[in-house]
């Protein structure tokens, strides 16, 4: 089981992502804004953080920049999670040092596998791919 923090202000998207990841066996913590998300990362030391690029308090890029500064006890993957046009999102995710990018809307059939690619290998039970996943 991995610990995943989902920083996403859209409650429907956050709920769906959370449900799919929990069904895949992960522990999920959701946060509706950047500040709550950064505190959640500090508290739970997750294996992976999904960060929406549009957040109401600080934008996603700012949050990602701060996540890189945050000391963590073990390696942590950071994925941009966005409905931005793919080309723009990819440039931004790469510039801000994300490990990958998952485009919204979520593909419910492939989402958990897309995320699993970026988790520690012991936790990866299946390796899938979807058209909206980009490794950086």
């Amino acid at each position: 089981m991995s610990i995943i923090v989902v920083i996403e202000d859209d409650p429907n998207s956050a709920r769906l992502a959370s449900r799919l990841l929990e069904r895949a066996g992960h522990q999920v913590v959701t946060a509706m804004d950047g500040e709550t998300g950064l505190n959640a990362v500090s508290e739970h030391s997750p294996d992976l953080v999904l960060v929406d690029l549009g957040l109401p308090d600080f934008d996603g890029q700012t949050v990602i920049g701060l996540l890189h500064e945050q000391p963590t006890p073990r390696p942590m993957s950071i994925l941009a999670f966005t409905a931005w046009p793919e080309e723009t999102a990819q440039v931004m995710a790469e510039a801000y040092g994300c490990d990958g990018l998952i485009s919204k809307p979520i593909n419910t059939r492939t989402f958990a596998d897309q995320v699993a690619v970026y988790l520690p290998k012991d936790d990866t039970t299946s390796m899938g791919s979807g058209s909206s996943q980009i490794s950086l």
């Binding site: 202000d9 859209d10 804004d33 950047g34 500040e35 950064l38 505190n39 500090s42 549009g54 957040l55 109401p56 308090d57 600080f58 934008d59 890029q61 700012t62 990602i64 920049g65 701060l66 890189h68 500064e69 945050q70 000391p71 409905a83 931005w84 046009p85 723009t88 440039v91 931004m92 510039a95 801000y96 040092g97």
Partner: protein, 291 residues
């Protein structure tokens, strides 16, 4: 049943929390959603001289909020901003009704010009503005530079002098600026936003350049402080001086997240920004209409 004409309520009837909520709902499917919380909405209104009594919230037949549109006001110029219609409540000319109400509001206050920016690729909004009589003036770049960006290292050219600008020198430089800023980067916006810093570089051959910018530091968690550079005004005679100016800036403020909005897309400075690690986030189209 055919939906009736939307009812319009002055935006000052609502608090910032609700305004942010309506705005966020209206932008959920926007090309680049940029949600706000109450604090950011309040800052936006204050920095950019938005007049809430001349801005509107629309209601549908069921008296549910369906859209939002705000009017900025400076001199005899009006600025349309934060326009959006909640996706499931679109389809009864809500956007057009809101825009026309803002134009009427501007005319009623004596505006001779109305301007706005629309994100490139937002075709429905662009079509609406053209239909109402707006004309394109230029394309604008929104750029980011991540804290980890490279390109600003290295020793500045021998013979370059750097002089920090104090508050009075910043005010004097801003009075002398010769660029044509968008609404967001007009001198009034910068003075409203505050937290300004600046410096000037002088080359031994007589060339000089200066920059004024906003730097804010906000504690986020006990361990983390968010720092952000924004609202650049720079005056530089050539791309090499711009490059030196930006390198000096990011050496003074290393590892600081940076956002620069609305630099003209055809600016000769863009290549220098790219050299020090800036990337394009998206582009806007500036439009205006004489009233």
């Amino acid at each position: 049943m055919v939906a009736g004409r939307p009812k319009l309520i002055p935006a000052n009837t609502y608090g910032f929390e609700t305004l942010a909520q309506i705005y966020n709902e209206a932008r959920t499917d926007y090309i680049v959603p940029m949600p706000m919380n109450a604090r950011r909405m309040e800052e936006y209104v204050r920095f950019y001289d938005v007049v809430l009594s001349a801005s509107f919230i629309s209601l549908n037949d069921a008296d549910e909020e369906s859209g939002i549109a705000m009017l900025g006001w400076r001199g005899q110029r009006a600025w349309i901003t934060r326009l959006g219609v909640i996706p499931e409540r679109r389809g009864s000319k809500v956007g057009q009704t809101l825009t026309e109400a803002l134009l009427d509001s501007g005319r009623g206050r004596g505006a001779t010009l109305c301007q706005l920016e629309v994100i490139e690729g937002n075709e429905p909004a662009h079509r609406l503005f053209v239909k109402l009589g707006f004309e394109e003036t230029r394309r604008l770049l929104v750029m980011r530079r991540p804290p980890s960006a490279r390109g600003a290292t290295g020793i500045l050219n021998v013979g370059i002098e750097i002089e920090a600008l104090d508050a009075s020198a910043i005010a004097a430089q801003l009075q002398r600026r010769t660029d044509a800023p968008s609404w967001l980067d007009e001198t009034v916006s910068l003075l409203n936003a505050g937290s300004l810093q600046g410096f000037r570089i002088d080359h031994q051959d007589g060339r000089f350049a200066w920059i004024v910018y906003r730097l804010v530091s906000t504690p986020v968690t006990p361990q983390l402080v968010r720092q952000k550079l924004s609202h650049f005004v720079l005056d530089s005679s050539d791309p090499d001086m711009t490059y030196d100016l930006l390198r000096a800036l990011h050496q003074r403020h290393p590892q600081v997240d940076t956002e620069v909005e609305n630099m003209p897309a055809d600016s000769s400075h863009w290549a220098s920004f790219q050299r020090v690690g800036y990337v394009q986030s998206f582009r806007r189209i500036e439009m205006l209409m004489h009233l």
